[in-house]
Amino acid sequence: MCHTSHRHPIFCILPPHVLRSIAQRGNPEQRVMATNTLAVDATLRAFRASAQTFAAAPSVDALANPGEKRRTIYTANHTQQLPGQRVRGEGDPPSGDVSVNEAYDGLGDTWDFFWNTYGRNSIDDEGLPLDATVHFGQNYNNAFWNSQQMVFGDGDGQIFNRFTVSLDVIGHELTHGVTEDEAQLAYLFQPGALNESVSDIFGSLVKQQRRHQAAKDADWLIGEGLLAPGIQGIALRSMKEPGSAYDDPILGKDPQPAHMKNFVHTYDDNGGVHINSGIPNHAFYLAATRLAGYAWEKAGRIWYETLRDARLRQNSGFKRFATLTAANAARLFGTSSVEHAVVVSAWQDVGVPVSGGSPALTP
């Protein structure tokens, strides 16, 4: 813990009982610092848990027909009960509730994207029904994937708007389900940042396909429209220019790096999963824009095949992921192809060296 950029290194060497004592008797600032240090324990515990067996995949409905989506939207009615009350099922007419309709349409766009582009039948490629709950909690400023369904808060209206407003955020959450089904990248440190990056990439591609945008015309923003009026920012993240999405008195400044030289060492945020994802995000942006055309056709295909590659492990870091994207570019387009060269150069430009052209990776 002591080789982090922690501003108060003394907390690294104090035993927990002393920390607790500071927490008990210290002034507010000292208490906050002690709480931060104690919170590190949560990350380490999550790390140990991730080494254990993953939960069994949700059961597959054997009656699902290939190419048939089945969506169900629930409302938590501002409680935290999941899934809540069913308000719209597949084929039902639009509701009078904009969040319900945005969730329904967003799930549909995301399902269509994976089916039409990569022939993937839902999250598990076996027709898993898609469930989402809206109106979760009171003024709840978040959206998350609970390993079975998507959950969206309404936002407090002061910092955040409702979380169904951005199609790429819906795609982002659903892609967490795809990653869980395929690579099961641990939600910590570099594997966690890759997990986040994969969700940003395919979330953005869902939006780009919906808008029929070529890579050069896309905004490459995640969560545009999510920040409330008055907040100084345009989105949650920018894949084009990581670190530029917001700079605001309340939110602080977007901390995302675009290059390994600015990699953030932290135990917060599960080891910086939403921070360092800027690096692989930018590598994808560079590859997609250099390859031109629609980003989902070449770069997206390469990244998708990498996510499905058995050589990608739960604990893989940036370097292994990058090497596998190069390997899949070579497999799909040829070892001396432009696509392979572009992928290698994209990673090099964010400071992740790709070893060789042909990977010496054991399964």
Binding site: F144, S147, G252
Partner: protein, 130 residues
């Protein structure tokens, strides 16, 4: 020694039917809560720092509710950590540190928060927002 009206003190208190807010003004009963939210769909440096509430300085109804919740949830006996499900992502984790003169306890829970702690987390979120 008579201190704050928390579960274990309850039995020893000669005034066990007293309004829990009555003793709040007593400095010996000072209760502090530090609340920190981490995780979520993005990392915001400005929202990442924990905030400390001096419960005694809150309006009476808030003080009473917090003291009731700490008792009804048996806060000092809760497990230190309720882990998120494997495979879950973008969930928030709430770290709650409560201390009085004699005791200190830190509990971390992740979304979706267990029903018995939902109100406490909601109230602390409201009290620490801006």
């Amino acid at each position: 020694m008579l201190v704050c009206r928390f579960p274990e003190d309850h039995r020893r208190s000669p005034r066990k039917h007293a309004d829990p807010t009555v003793r709040a003004a007593d400095k010996k009963c000072s209760v502090q809560i530090t609340f920190k939210t981490s995780g979520g769909i993005a990392y915001f440096p400005g929202l990442a720092a924990g905030k400390t509430i001096d419960v005694d300085t809150l309006p009476q109804d808030r003080q009473a509710e917090i003291r009731r919740l700490l008792e009804s949830t048996k806060f000092f006996d809760l497990p230190a950590r309720t882990a998120a499900k494997p495979g879950a992502a973008d969930y928030q984790t709430y770290t709650i540190m409560v201390s009085d003169r004699d005791r200190q306890k830190t509990v971390a829970v992740s979304d979706p928060v267990p029903p018995e702690l939902a109100r406490l987390v909601e109230l602390l979120r409201e009290l620490t927002s801006r």
